[in-house]
Symmetry: C2
Subunit: 341 residues, 2 copies
């Protein structure tokens, strides 16, 4: 049980993840003495609900972090870069949900089920990994511990909420337009800041972030780099294809892993069943497997379709689904905050 009550700031309180952070703090009965919702000037003045009370969102300024113990950041990488040092200077510990500090060697990158011990090395900032990385490493952890691996091939099926509340509205409006035979508006997908926009409704877009020079997208390279850092193991090789699909909430991943030891498929299932934060839903003969709609609103990582590669006896396929706004963002952030108190 927590030993003290703390003042918690939420930066990005009006966003899709911000909303889930509030619900998660409530649901997990986090010992909040004062909740301080912060956002850009544009959203300041709006109210959010927390434990039945309306609280007015304040504009994020350096001074707004005075007296804050824990600051949960989820308002974009640029905003984090500006305000995280200000919050730390005023004594807060920042749990940052953006890409701003994830690969900074002085910042622990934490998924508690995998590397909670890294939390204690923080110097004021702890980073929350990318949503698609988090659910994957939770599923891989029990296999890493018992069998080891240095090779992972992953293809993702990512929900639009990974791009925020606007993207969710866009998918809904585009779906309605296409059902009505109208031309859909395109403003957010695949990447708001880029030039070209494509409809995501009834489509699949093989781009979840900006392109890097090697032909991969940043989202794909995040999975490569973050996985090595979270496991503290640079031998882990990973190659990723990240794809946006017309799903509102819940990322799915088709994972292929080459294990370092021989295995019996029942040993794999048992390891997953005992894995922290994992629910095994694995019986395709009875049509039992994880899906985004059944994972929505839940904190765990769901694993199914577990089966041996038809070629390599040490190869393993599985299907991993989790709510990207919860375990992929808010839940993982609040779990880290719990370890801080």
């Amino acid at each position: 049980m927590p030993s003290r009550e703390v003042t918690v700031a939420i930066l990005g309180a009006s966003g899709a993840v911000g909303e889930q952070l509030l619900r998660n703090l409530e649901a997990r009965n986090f010992p909040v003495k004062e909740l301080r919702p912060l956002a850009s000037k544009r959203s300041a003045g709006k109210t959010i609900q927390f434990r039945g009370e309306d609280i007015v969102i304040r504009e994020a300024t350096p001074e707004a972090f005075e007296g804050v113990d824990i600051a949960l950041f989820s308002a974009g990488g640029g905003v984090s870069k500006t305000f995280a040092p200000e919050a730390v200077k005023r004594g807060a510990v920042v749990v940052d949900n953006t890409n701003a500090f994830r690969m900074d060697p002085n910042v622990p990158l934490v998924v508690p089920e995998v590397n909670k011990d890294a939390i204690k090395n923080h110097q004021g900032i702890i980073a929350n990994p990318n949503c698609s990385t988090i659910q994957m490493v939770v599923a891989l952890k029990p296999l890493y511990d018992r069998f080891g691996f240095d090779r992972v091939i992953v293809s993702t099926y990512q929900a639009v909420s990974g791009s925020g509340a606007k993207a969710m509205t866009e998918l809904q409006e585009q779906s309605q337009a296409i059902l009505d035979g109208r031309e859909p508006n395109k403003e957010v997908m695949p990447v708001g800041a880029l030039d070209k926009h494509y409809p995501i409704a009834f489509n699949a877009i093989p781009q979840c972030d900006v392109a890097e020079e090697n032909g991969y997208t940043l989202e794909e390279m995040k999975m490569v780099r973050e996985t090595k850092k979270i496991f503290s193991d640079n031998r882990i090789g990973l190659t990723a294809t990240c794809v946006r699909v017309p799903v509102l909430r819940g990322h799915s991943e088709s994972l292929y892993v080459e294990l370092n030891k021989d295995f019996d498929i029942e040993e794999i299932r048992q390891a997953l069943r005992e894995g922290e934060g994992i629910i095994l839903e694995d019986d395709v003969a009875s049509q039992v497997y994880p899906m985004p709609q059944t994972a929505t609103g839940r904190d765990e990582v769901f694993v199914g379709r577990v089966r041996r590669d038809t070629i390599n006896p040490r190869g393993l396929n599985m299907w991993v689904v989790s709510d990207n706004l919860l375990k992929g963002a808010a839940t993982n952030t609040v779990q880290i905050a719990e370890y801080l108190i």
Copy 2:
């Protein structure tokens, strides 16, 4: 140019693929002397349009194949098993679009871009591969010829039209229900004949056919078996994860291939660019890549996101999209028929 005009029967003329077969025969100016649309008793009496004329669908009976030169079958495996021998007995050559005869050693399994020479060994029946296999082998063919491979890992993003016209209606109705806040009806997806049905709208279902005993689905094992047969190469190892996504038309595939020779990525692009039936759309920096919505209504296989594995220098990732009702079904069927005349 074709040397003769032929009588063509279409079994399953009222279905999603049947409709595309008609449009394809028109568009490719196939030398049809007489078009004979056939279907079950239930659909007999309806009319279809061909070259501006209304033609009444007849009930499929053994006698309905009298005088038919080429019979295009797309009405389910059971129907094919009943009527293919009857059609052959009456002198027709059957191009079958179901799973009924694909693995029969006496039946060529043909994708013309890969193995058109197999057509001449037919004994009355030629099988059209599964939609997800066809587009994959077209994309793999130039790499097979120039570099060789014996290892493929594929994850699919399959459109609902692979399950027919009813599934397309279901996705549309479910989407509207969810947008309206109503409970969606579930009758077709993931597999009509099975007990459990899940919404496909705003969801992803990791099951495209019935389960086999090894934990794979039939759809996944079709890709494994058919690929070996089409390339006449049992050394090709393939492992597949087949997933249904809320897309109406156009299957996408995330393909990982381990080539047998070193390569320069530009050589790969050049090979694909020159590959038969392939259009290369590969420039992620300019947001150019294949998508189901841009592939819909087109006969080719679209390839993009071509990039070297970040681990294995002989590993290659690519993204392959094609219209499953066209190249994945009707176009491939009509191409085979063209080689017959």
